[in-house]
């Protein structure tokens, strides 16, 4: 073997790596030193305030930003109505994230070899586009319209609603109608992690597995998904106390009564309630505790079909599911920790993908209503408005499997995400974040090995470096 060639190759590769890294470092420094931009997200432009006013680090809201949102995107100084804005003002902002990311999965079912493989992909990419149009139609009438696309440019309407604020001159009476995000204290729409594995809360979207390799398909739901319906929300003037209740169509936010992947389209209704209270502890900051509950139901078979295709909105055999939890948001000056306990329960019919028209006789032997517990710990260290470090650990543990034959830990999840966001400037015109993140998720026994027939774990991880910008 010609060792000198190998050494030269290694040296060249090492030198090339050093040059590449130095170039990236220089680019990074150059970008840091760039002048502040002069474009603008909608509210910052309207009110002339830096994004750091409403966001501890965008998109995470500060208490002031939360109050602004709860007040119907209004400051409350009789200058909120559009009539006070320059006619040229248009309440619109856009957000997108070009990035480089690496995705890795263990135990992916493939046609080759043993039928299971570890798959790694990576490359430059970009996320979907959010077009954020939000503001006021008149004093105490606010709106939200958010066309949103996936990375292919396929658009859907992420949010469409009108809110009547401060009815009867009371901050306790605000009514919103349309498609909107549930009043989740831990907002998934304002999540600080963006990678494929870290861009959502596992607890918000978990549905128990019917059996190894068999996912629940009886309904689609995520408590972090925007829903369609009506919301009453009330809050104290200083926003320390917040409460809301919603009546929603059981469609997981889909239009035309389409329930997505369910067994039957639905015309059922669901409910969500949440309440929280913040209190000051010394000079540590505002601490907030709260609770929430979602009462859902999903149809299990179509009452009418046409050409064997279910007619939307005519599903029958409603079966219940619910989610509930408690949340605490603890501030220790620059460090804050969000803790959440989560409980989920599905009807036995939903948990086993079984239509309920045959009654319990139609259920598989040894079937149960599945239930589970979950927890979330998310920490942020806000070094300053330009730098935030994020860490999150989530776990989900099944307490009752849908079938006796299932492994006890089928579907259990552990998810770890950490990263940081650096904002090279803070302005009232635009925002840019250098987004750096690693996320890994372990799901227990959900894959069935094609060769052994035994359930094995699925591990997925993401590494992401992105430029998250809004203007």
């Amino acid at each position: 073997m010609d060792w000198s060639k190998l050494i030269n190759f290694r040296d060249r590769r090492s030198r090339a790596g050093s040059i590449l890294f130095s170039a990236l470092l220089l680019l990074f420094i150059a970008l840091i030193d760039s002048s502040p931009a002069r474009a603008i997200p909608a509210f910052a432009r309207k009110y002339g305030m830096p994004c750091s006013s409403c966001h501890e680090a965008w998109p995470k809201l500060s208490p002031f930003g939360q109050q602004f949102k709860d007040n119907g995107f209004q400051m409350g100084n009789d200058r909120d109505a559009p009539i006070f804005q320059s006619p040229a003002y248009w309440p619109i902002a856009m957000r997108i994230t070009p990035n480089w990311h690496l995705e890795h999965q263990d135990n992916v079912i493939v046609d080759q070899g043993s039928g299971l493989a570890n798959v790694t992909t990576h490359g430059f990419d970009f996320g979907g586009l959010d077009i954020l149009t939000e503001g006021t139609l008149a004093k105490n009438i606010s709106f939200q319209l958010v066309p949103s696309s996936d990375e292919t440019g396929a658009f859907h309407l992420e949010a469409v609603n009108v809110r009547f604020d401060n009815l009867l001159n009371s901050s306790w009476l605000n009514i919103k109608a349309g498609k909107f995000e549930l009043d989740n204290l831990l907002s998934e729409k304002r999540i600080l992690t963006l990678s494929a594995n870290g861009s959502f809360y596992q607890n918000y979207h978990f549905q128990p597995w019917v059996a190894p390799g068999v996912a629940s398909s009886s309904y689609a739901f995520g408590i972090g998904d925007n829903q369609v319906g009506l919301e009453w929300m009330g809050h104290s003037k200083n926003d320390r106390t917040r409460i809301s209740a919603s009546l929603l169509s059981a469609t997981d936010g889909n239009p035309d009564f389409q329930s997505g992947t369910g067994l039957a389209a639905s015309s059922a209704y669901e409910g969500f309630i949440t309440a929280s209270r913040a209190f000051q502890v010394g000079n540590l900051g505002l601490q907030r505790v709260g609770g929430f509950a979602y009462f859902g139901q999903a149809t299990t078979f179509p009452k009418y079909t046409s050409g064997s295709v279910p007619i939307n909105g005519t599903g029958a055999g409603n079966e219940p599911y619910y989610r509930a939890g408690f949340i605490g948001m603890w501030y220790l000056k620059k460090l804050d920790v969000t803790t959440m306990y989560f409980y989920g329960h599905d009807s036995v019919y939903l948990g086993t993908n079984t239509p309920s028209n045959a009654g319990s006789a139609g259920l598989p032997a040894g079937s149960h209503a599945p239930s589970w517990n979950g927890a979330l710990f998310e920490t942020h260290y806000t070094f300053n408005p330009q730098m935030i470090f994020v860490n999150r650990y989530e776990l989900i543990r099944m307490s009752q499997q849908a079938l006796d034959t299932n492994p006890g830990d089928l579907g259990n999840i552990d998810a770890l995400t950490f990263g940081f966001r650096y904002y090279p400037f803070v302005s009232s015109r635009a925002g840019l974040a250098f987004h750096n993140e690693y996320s890994i998720v372990w799901q227990r026994k959900i894959v069935v090995s094609p060769t052994t027939g035994l359930p094995v774990d699925l591990t997925s991880s993401s590494l992401m470096f992105g430029l998250d910008f809004a203007f």
């Binding site: 002339g48 305030m49 409350g76 100084n77 009789d78 300053n384 302005s427």
Partner: protein
């Protein structure tokens, strides 16, 4: 060699991680003010505000309008009307202290808490009491006046006398005698003969308060706040102090009358005034209706 390579990558990664954190906040084209004087404090009730803590808050929430140096020239100042307060000048509208004096810490604290009606300065009620006190302490570091002058003594506000029709009528006489109408207009709509010519102490055009549209005042919402406004004056604006020319009992009569000019705001004074022929005729002439902004009068 392998260890050296990993060491290099590790050092570089640490550099990338640490570098941004070590950089000063680049929040505007302007350099922030020098480190605040730690000896300047704010005392509001039993809360003591510290400028160091206030500095962090100021450069999170306030600098966009009030500027990195507190002189009111933040990046949004050119687009705001009225322009943001220049803290360096040390002149404040809303005070409980006589004209020409510095406000108390309480005055500044409540200004931050309340916000300013019909301006872009919002209420910062969501900040904690400690936060607001810290901001007051930091704001005081911008002007040299705080190092040389003490805050004025708050004026004494006598108890409010009983509301009567006579009190309102006498207040109307005071309104005429003091020529308040020259700026505010006979109906209090801010359209007096001098209104179009008014400027503040920074030569910026300024409009008199429109009682007919307003439900709140810049410096508060209560009758006591209204009393303070014309007895202390709004420094830096053409609104003078009337403390030397109006007796306290006359001042209360004026308060009662001014309340009746707020025809879009339900008040005991307005309700009483409606019962008189003069008041009823005045209100009948006003066409109160909802405007696109949600309240106010038809032009």
């Amino acid at each position: 060699m392998r260890i050296t390579k990993f060491k290099g990558i590790f050092v570089s990664l640490v550099a990338v991680l640490i570098l941004p954190a070590a950089l000063p906040a680049q929040q505007s084209d302007q350099a922030p003010a020098a480190k605040p004087n730690p000896h300047i404090e704010a005392h509001v009730g039993d809360v003591t505000g510290h400028p160091d803590a206030g500095s962090d808050l100021y450069y999170r929430y306030c600098w966009g309008c009030h500027g990195a140096r507190g002189n009111g020239d933040g990046e949004n100042a050119p687009y705001l009307n009225p322009t943001p307060r220049n803290f360096v000048a040390g002149i404040f509208k809303c005070r409980s202290t006589p004209t020409g004096t510095l406000p108390t810490d309480d005055d500044l604290y409540h200004s931050i808490e309340r916000g300013f009606y019909t301006t872009t300065m919002p209420s910062w009620i969501t900040l904690t009491a400690q936060n607001r006190a810290d901001l007051v302490a930091f704001i005081k570091t911008f002007s040299a006046r705080w190092a040389t002058d003490k805050a004025g003594e708050p004026i004494q506000i006598p108890p409010e006398p009983k509301l009567t029709v006579e009190s309102i009528k006498h207040g109307k006489e005071v309104f005429q005698k003091m020529e308040c109408w020259k700026c505010h207009g006979q109906e209090g709509r801010g359209d007096g003969p001098s209104a179009a010519t008014l400027t503040d102490s920074f030569d910026q055009p300024i409009r008199p308060y429109d009682f007919a549209q307003g439900t709140r005042f810049k410096c508060g919402t209560t009758n006591q706040d209204l009393y303070k406004i014309f007895m202390t004056g709004l420094d830096g604006t053409p609104m003078p102090s009337f403390a030397s020319v109006i007796k306290p009992e006359e001042a209360w009569d004026l308060v009662h009358y001014l309340r009746t000019l707020q025809v879009s705001h339900a008040s005991p004074e307005l309700a009483l005034w409606k019962t008189t022929p003069e008041g009823a005729a005045f209100l009948a002439a006003e066409k109160v209706r909802n405007t696109p902004t949600g309240s106010g009068l038809a032009p």
